[in-house]
């Protein structure tokens, strides 16, 4: 398998640049129900320009076009967007303290619900695997869990307190109803429901012991759900590779970890089969310098196509890439 062959040469080929946003692009999400068989891939992106854009690749030309601009709903930066697992709904989290839920009604995206309650900027939103729960987090230090009810109704099930600072990201485990949150307080918290239906923090993963304490920006799970990668200014097993903030990490189904950072670069890591080291270790597969003209805020692997990645940046663009090999 070429990932383990250290003689393989990888390159990151740029497929297309998607322009349109008029401010930095903070995040993007591939619609999980598209990009396979007969459906064309769809991406949602969100920006400091207060809008969300929906992009689709044309079946005919294989070129990406902007299909919709979701505007006049959020009144401030839209910080993150995520599709429900079925691909039917899109949740968008904004600095305006609300989370909007959108549905594609005959080609038109409509805002079908607005979740209010956070005291200030909402930073992230995540759906659980069965689409029964939604989680949001905010600079107000709390994590909210919402129950998805029929008719696009959302009811707050719990307000989780525990973080002592701004909560940057929430992510449900890929298969279990366990929620992870990461924060400006340098910790990651794990939340689960007990038998009586109460949610509480079952574990706090603190600052690494190497003395570097910094905000945890993002979390990603491997396909099996038994490993998790997080990013901050220094990743303890990957120290030395980044010295500017890493904003995003994403683990592909195949086991390649992509990261995007404030040095404008995208990096790829794979598990190293180094028998001299006890336990898993990772090696740098490829570094793409100047992937964008400014900070890379997000990297996301395509759910449908193999080794296809999307990235977005402060430079206002989204790029589609293919990680290709040319073994020598």
């Amino acid at each position: 398998m070429d990932l383990n062959d250290e003689g393989s040469h990888f390159e990151l080929k740029e497929i297309q640049t998607l322009s349109g946003h008029t401010d930095r692009v903070w995040s993007l999400a591939w619609n999980p129900a598209t990009g396979t068989d007969d459906t064309q891939p769809v991406i949602a992106s969100c920006s400091g320009d207060k809008t969300v854009r929906i992009w689709e690749r044309s079946a005919l030309t294989r070129s990406w076009d902007c299909k919709a601009v979701l505007e006049e709903t959020h009144t401030r930066t839209v910080r993150s967007c995520t599709w429900s697992p079925s691909g039917k709904l899109l949740a968008t989290a904004s600095f305006d303290a609300t989370t909007a839920i959108w549905e594609n009604v005959g080609g038109d995206f409509q805002c079908v619900s607005t979740l209010e309650g956070h005291e200030n900027e909402v930073k992230s939103v995540s759906w659980n695997a069965s689409e029964s729960l939604l989680a949001t987090c905010s600079r107000d230090k709390t994590v909210w869990i919402w129950e998805v009810m029929p008719g696009n109704e959302f009811e707050c099930a719990s307000v989780l307190q525990g973080h002592t600072q701004d909560v940057k990201m929430v992510k449900w485990h890929p298969t279990m109803d366990i929620l992870f949150s990461c924060s400006y307080d340098n910790t990651i918290k794990v939340w689960a429901e007990d038998d009586t239906g109460d949610w509480h923090c079952i574990q706090t993963i603190g600052e690494s012991s190497n003395g570097h304490s910094s905000t945890v920006w993002a979390i990603s799970f491997n396909a099996e759900g038994n490993k998790m990668v997080t990013c901050r200014k220094h990743i303890s097993t990957l120290t030395g590779y980044h010295d500017r903030t890493i904003f995003s990490v994403h683990w592909s189904r195949e086991g390649i970890i992509a990261s995007g950072a404030a040095d404008d670069a995208i990096r790829f890591f794979v598990e190293s089969k180094d028998s001299a080291v006890v336990g898993p270790s990772y090696r740098l597969l490829l570094k793409k310098e100047k992937a964008h003209d400014m900070d890379v805020n997000v990297v996301q692997w395509s759910p449908g196509e193999n080794r296809v990645l999307a990235s977005a940046s402060d430079d206002g663009t989204i790029k589609i890439w293919e990680l290709a090999t040319n073994s020598t």
């Binding site: 400091g48 910080r79 600095f95 701004d166 905000t215 903030t245 404008d264 670069a265």
Partner: protein, 162 residues
């Protein structure tokens, strides 16, 4: 503003003489090979007004040319580190000053430059907390969507023709 200023009697220093620089081409290509040096960065920030006093950051020695460093460890990324010295240790205006520096440089330097801002080590009671906020891009972005804060920053950045 509250009646009690943090530092009612700041020490005011003389401004450094301005070196005559060669006229720059107005439409200089953003990606031209011409590198920006410390003095140019200093020129952008020296006249920022202190939020509380009618003096510039240079005059109050909050910022100086030596406090601007080029970080050239990575060939593909151009970085500057700007260190400022609040006039008093418990200065609650430290984050505002830091924000002014960030905004001025954001508006003045080509977007490819990365800027790190910090308070001079040992000069502020909550140094780590201030530094962390000033270098958290998301927090800065949210702060700059606060109209009151933006007004305060614009006031400090406005040129004075005294």
């Amino acid at each position: 503003m509250v009646s009690g200023l943090i530092n009612a009697n700041p020490v005011v220093y003389e401004k450094k003489e301005r070196r005559q620089r060669p006229a720059s081409i107005p439409d200089a290509d953003e990606y031209s090979a011409e590198a920006i040096d410390q003095l140019e960065v200093f020129d952008h920030v020296r006249d920022i007004k202190d939020p509380e006093h009618p003096y510039s950051l240079e005059e109050l020695k909050v910022i100086s040319e030596d406090a601007i460093e080029v970080d050239d460890r990575r060939s593909y990324v151009s970085c500057f580190r700007v260190t400022f010295t609040p006039t008093v240790e418990h200065c609650s205006m430290a984050t505002v000053i830091g924000l002014c520096l960030r905004v001025k440089l954001m508006r003045s330097l080509p977007s490819r430059y990365k800027v790190d801002i910090r308070v001079a080590p040992g000069t502020h009671a909550t140094e780590a907390a201030v530094n962390k906020q000033l270098n958290d891009k998301e927090r800065i972005a949210a702060a700059l969507e606060n109209p009151n804060l933006v007004d305060m920053v614009d006031e400090c950045l406005a040129p004075s023709y005294a």
